[in-house]
């Protein structure tokens, strides 16, 4: 199982807990994890990736295994520690406030 940690706003939107567990078919990649996340929580469609371009939203970043994956190709395999559930895949929203 892959553990995905969500920011508060997306927990509200999806009715999900802070951390959700997902399984993906084949080798886990950023894209497959996000596809599985949207399949499990359809309310998240369009929240992380633009529905038209499928590009990551500019105020959202993805981290896994201590690395920022945001700029990497979405079809690269995730680090083994994330793929086997030892560490979470982190969805991070830009800080807001003042």
């Amino acid at each position: 199982m892959i553990r995905v940690r969500l920011p508060d706003h997306l927990c509200t939107l999806a009715g999900a807990s802070r951390e959700v567990e997902l399984s993906v078919d084949g080798k886990a990649t950023q894209q497959l994890v996000l596809d599985a996340l949207e399949l499990r929580f359809p309310a998240l469609k369009g929240a992380l990736r633009d529905p038209q371009t499928a590009r990551r939203r500019p105020f959202v970043r993805f981290y896994a295994g201590g690395e920022d994956l945001s700029q990497l190709p979405p079809d690269l395999p995730l680090p083994p520690a994330v793929a086997n559930g030892d560490e979470p895949f982190l969805v991070i929203a830009a800080i807001a406030g003042g």
């Binding site: 508060d8 706003h9 997306l10 509200t12 939107l13 359809p42 309310a43 469609k45 369009g46 929240a47 992380l48 633009d50 529905p51 038209q52 939203r57 105020f59 959202v60 929203a93 830009a94 807001a96």
Partner: protein
């Protein structure tokens, strides 16, 4: 339940305020969608339990919500707003071409005939329609691709289609208003469109007869008389008696004719409400909050201040934040940038704050439940 349901969209969630016909005691539920901007929430007149809400954030984009039980529970519906074909460009503030880019839904207008049918006005300006309760959306692209579309420019709040007025007598007639392009009219259900801005004068436009480029803030219609339209423009309060063919000014004796909101009494088509503010930089008037009412269709206006703060008050009322109910004694409601919602159950003669401390109010709609 008989009474009134007030639907408030705010910067940090939606709130639903309910009362019986007396409109003295209010039950408040919310925040729904806590932390999210709710630009607009509106109910179907055919099925008052059917509500639609526009939920958005700069971080996570546009989401749409639907309730089938009067706002007790909500379910996400379709949020794909894809421009039809190659979107092309409009003009940016500096006159350079700018690709059309979807940002958010400003306004939702459910049909008066079918609860599954609802229109959405979006930024960058375009009109979408759903015929399946918001599950899917299709652009009525004849508006955006009409001959003036490529010359439209944004107003300070973005290039938004913020007003949709459906003609209750003729299913085919639709008016929309876009900042800062103006009013557009369709007579064939939204397939084709023409600018409807003759008579509008905007000082910042060199050509006094400019077909588009007017910063129309809001238009309103009384459903018994769909040929008459009222408008709050950036500056100027305007009126049309011929379905938008021609406009003339009715600012009359208002202390200032800048403002955002405008609405019409539920039973008196010549009674109009506005909330004037000093200018586009000073969104208040001398520290006091006043609604102005005309009972003569414009020009002659009276200040309404009983129950409203008259000192140290510097709040604003946004374009979609005023509404009326249709009870026998017409109720008038507006929400402020300070988080208050004021209500009058006597056509504006007196007011009370039915809630004080919400987040800044973006929109107010009212359902009269019978």
């Amino acid at each position: 339940m008989t009474g009134v349901r007030v639907l408030a969209g705010t910067r940090k969630g939606a709130f639903i305020l309910s009362s019986d016909e007396g409109r003295k005691q209010w039950n408040i539920s919310g925040p729904h969608f806590a932390g999210w901007e709710i630009y607009h929430i509106k109910g179907s007149s055919v099925n008052p339990d059917r509500l639609y809400a526009s939920q958005s954030s700069s971080w996570f984009g546009q989401h749409m919500q639907r309730s089938d039980n009067g706002g007790v529970t909500w379910n996400p519906v379709g949020n794909e707003f894809l421009y039809d074909g190659v979107a092309g460009t409009h003009q940016w503030y500096d006159g350079t071409p700018r690709p059309w880019e979807f940002k958010r839904v400003w306004h939702l207008e459910p049909s008066d005939f079918d609860p599954e049918e609802v229109y959405a006005g979006v930024e960058d300006a375009a009109l979408f329609k759903s015929t399946d309760g918001g599950s899917t959306w299709k652009e009525l692209s004849g508006l955006r691709t009409s001959k003036t579309g490529s010359s439209w420019q944004p107003g300070a709040g973005g290039m938004c289609l913020h007003t949709i007025v459906l003609d209750p007598k003729s299913n085919g007639q639709i008016f929309v208003a876009i900042s800062a392009a103006g009013v557009f009219r369709s007579e064939d259900g939204g397939e084709t469109w023409k600018p409807s801005n003759k008579g509008l004068v905007s000082e910042y436009i060199p050509d006094p007869t400019a077909e588009v480029g007017h910063c129309v803030h809001k238009i309103a219609m009384h459903k018994s008389r769909p040929e008459v339209l009222y408008m709050q423009k950036h500056w100027d309060v305007m009126r049309s008696d011929d379905s938008g063919e021609n406009w003339y000014e009715i600012s009359g004796d208002l202390p200032t004719d800048f403002g955002f909101a405008i609405d019409v009494h539920a039973h008196e088509p010549e009674t109009v409400y506005v909330v004037p503010i000093k200018s586009d930089s000073e969104h208040f008037v001398d520290g006091s909050l006043k609604v102005f009412r005309s009972r003569t269709g414009g020009n002659e206006w009276e200040p309404l201040s009983k129950g409203l703060p008259q000192s140290n008050c510097y709040v604003n009322v946004l374009r979609d934040a005023m509404a009326v109910d249709s009870l026998e004694s017409c109720g008038v409601y507006f929400g402020t940038s300070g988080g208050q919602i004021y209500a009058s159950s006597d056509s504006g003669d007196s007011w009370q704050a039915i809630v004080h401390d919400l987040p800044p109010v973006l929109s107010v709609e009212v359902q009269t439940l019978k």
